[in-house]
């Protein structure tokens, strides 16, 4: 059974979504809801903390693709942080670093919004 959960925090005007567990075609919907919630509240500056994410498949990557444009057209962004090497390798294999800013730590990603 694939286990996955998200937690939402705020750091100033930056919204942090922490991912935990396994992000696949079954659990991707959960993340979609978490990001949709932020859009409903007009919150477009998002940092996704991957530290506790153990696994991602292309269905998980698709969630970030689905929302990136909405965030950027509203002066926001989705910045990614704290990926384990096994997760980063999948993003890298597909060339996602061309489109997304990926930081070693959440703090660095949050600071990029603040600077």
């Amino acid at each position: 059974m694939a286990e996955f959960s998200t937690k939402h925090r705020e750091n100033g005007e930056v919204n942090i979504i922490e991912l935990n567990g396994y992000l696949d075609a079954h659990t991707a919907q959960h993340l979609e809801h978490a990001i949709s919630d932020l859009i409903t509240k007009n919150k477009y500056k998002v940092v996704v903390n991957f530290e506790q994410l153990k696994y991602i498949s292309s269905a998980g990557l698709g969630v970030f693709m689905a929302f990136i444009e909405t965030m950027r057209t509203n002066s926001g962004d989705i910045k990614l942080a704290g990926m384990q090497p096994s997760v980063y390798n999948i993003f890298d294999l597909l060339g996602f670093p061309l489109l997304y800013e990926i930081f070693p730590t959440e703090t660095e990603a949050v600071n990029k919004f603040k600077n």
Binding site: A2, E3, H26, S57, S58, G62, A66, I90, L93, L98
Partner: protein
């Protein structure tokens, strides 16, 4: 599970994304037991997840009353995963890999499963079994 053959393992699952975790655990266990490196095991597991997701989504259109089979064949040289379904056929040879810079520029969503399988495995082969379903064979060289 096939108990008669030493290096053939099989599981049948209902066509639901809910079972992806169980499928991954099954394949990971067999790969690790075969002494395959963690990094190679991760690639096999992801390729199988992508293939099963495609079956659930495209071959069976999320119909949970259907089932498909995952068969693992391990030899000294190769770790093979056969996926057999009785849903809608598709020929991966007809599907080209996306150009990723264009894909990202156009903010496309989906359609990366087969692309990933080809990158992660040494061979991806499809057979239409003529009335006996579709068979996708994912092969990773291990020696």
């Amino acid at each position: 599970m096939n108990k008669n053959a030493k290096n053939i393992f099989e599981m049948k699952v209902k066509s639901s994304t809910e079972n992806l975790g169980t499928i991954r655990e099954f394949v990971e266990e067999k790969a690790m037991q075969s002494g395959i490196d963690k990094s190679i095991t991760d690639k096999i597991v992801l390729a199988v997840d992508e293939a099963c997701t495609n079956i659930i989504k495209h071959a069976y259109n999320y119909d949970e009353s259907t089932e498909f089979t995952i068969r693992v064949l391990i030899s000294k040289k190769e770790f093979k995963v056969l996926l057999i379904d009785h849903g809608k056929s598709f020929d991966p040879n007809q599907i080209a890999d996306p150009d990723m810079p264009t894909y990202l520029k156009q903010r496309r969503v989906g359609g990366l499963g087969l692309h990933l399988m080809r990158h992660l495995m040494d061979n991806v082969e499809y057979h239409n079994l003529e009335g006996n379903g579709n068979q996708l064979i994912l092969t990773k060289k291990i020696a």
